[in-house]
């Protein structure tokens, strides 16, 4: 498979069926940067003058996001929250520190660190046990609180997270399956600082799939933690992603159409509603042959039968 963008047709490193394209390393990096730049512009996320705080975990999405924003010339620092999940947290902390020292520092960007155990007296697993709450839910509350607090207290203009197309499509599927429409507003790629004390929050990777971001990290030699958080095993989000990936394999572009279609509907004002009965009364008339309602003069059934009879007649 060769790069579909290069005039010299260099060997491709990734095929993207949903875009009917394949890219070499250089063209793929350009493609990813363009997708992020489009999201930043389309959803009015931030300007080159803004100070951005990136929420980093040591995983592919957040480190790739930090990398892309620095490559695009934005002023982006990062905050890492050490959750105290034993060897997993130690390894993810090491990956973040390594990236900050070897890459981010050369762009003048700094890493902030919050250690849950230092403030709460226990790690995330112990806190979840004490509170009788699921670990992922406890973790989510702590991370949202600490990232927002750091962004507000240290006067960043905006907080950026590494949520990608798969994250948003899976969350949307979960919200729709359970009709949790009160959460749908929060799926916008830009959430304004609606009240005093809330930082503006953005998701610049919302146009890119999880696989594209992982590929970007490999191509650009970003050393991230491949191991999954031990607490996420068996989570519903992973199940929804697996289901969506099956659909995507059969029909490329499904995840994109699902999530982007939702965003389009969110931003487009709904037309004046007409009931199904009103619409039928306006558009349907009796078929000229059988009298059943149809939008055409002669209904599809009568047309089909007339055609079949003509075709079945013996030739003279």
């Amino acid at each position: 498979m060769n790069c579909t963008k290069c005039p010299t047709s260099t060997r491709a490193v990734i095929g993207l069926p949903r875009h009917n394209a394949a890219f070499c390393k250089a063209c793929f990096t350009t493609f990813v940067h363009e997708q992020v730049a489009r999201a930043i512009k389309a959803f009015k996320m931030f300007t080159p003058e803004d100070r951005i705080l990136v929420a980093v975990s040591g995983g592919k999405d957040s480190l790739a996001l930090w990398h892309i924003l620095l490559a695009l010339g934005y002023r982006a620092d990062a905050l890492y929250v050490n959750l105290g999940i034993g060897a997993y947290s130690e390894e993810s902390h090491r990956k973040v520190r390594h990236y900050a020292e070897t890459v981010a520092a050369s762009h003048g960007a700094k890493l902030l660190v919050h250690v849950v155990e230092q403030e709460a007296g226990a790690g995330i697993r112990e806190l979840a046990t004490i509170l009788h709450r699921p670990t992922c839910s406890t973790c989510g509350t702590i991370k949202r609180y600490q990232f927002n607090r750091a962004a507000v207290e240290q006067e960043y203009d905006v907080m950026a997270t590494g949520h990608n197309l798969d994250d948003e499509a899976a969350r949307l599927l979960g919200n729709v399956l359970h009709w949790q429409d009160e959460y749908l507003d929060k799926q916008s790629p830009t959430l304004p600082a609606s009240v005093e004390g809330f930082a503006k929050k953005v998701k610049p990777l919302c146009r890119l799939s999880e696989r594209e971001i992982a590929a970007y990290a490999v191509v650009n030699r970003i050393d991230y933690i491949v191991e999954e958080c031990p607490m996420a095993k068996g989570s519903k989000m992973i199940l929804y992603k697996e289901v969506l990936n099956r659909l995507e394999t059969e029909s490329p572009g499904t995840k994109q159409r699902f999530y982007w279609g939702f965003l389009d509907k969110q931003t487009t004002p709904a037309p004046a509603t007409e009931s199904m009965a009103e619409k039928d009364q306006r558009t349907l008339t009796p078929c000229t042959i059988c009298g059943q309602p149809t939008t055409a003069g002669t209904c599809s059934y009568c047309k089909m039968m007339a055609k079949a009879k003509t075709a079945a007649q013996p030739r003279a």
Binding site: I14, C139, D166, A232, E248
Partner: protein
């Protein structure tokens, strides 16, 4: 070829030569949820993998809550 897998971390020996998509199919894995890396380079689904290749199949799905 020696194939390294994750979640859980393990290694399996698969007979080559074989195209990337055939390797994934044999292991019952979906391309959309994985990257295939030969040495330290990504390969596409139509790439022919040889018996002597060192392959990593890296899952890309993550997420809790």
């Amino acid at each position: 070829m020696l194939v390294q897998l994750s979640h859980p971390h393990r290694q399996v020996e698969i007979k080559g030569p074989k195209r990337t998509k055939e390797l994934l199919r044999e292991l019952n894995l979906v391309m959309e949820a994985h990257l295939v890396i030969r040495g330290d380079e990504l390969v596409t689904e139509d790439e022919m993998l040889a018996d002597a290749d060192q392959i990593e199949i890296r899952p890309v799905i993550s997420g809790g809550a």
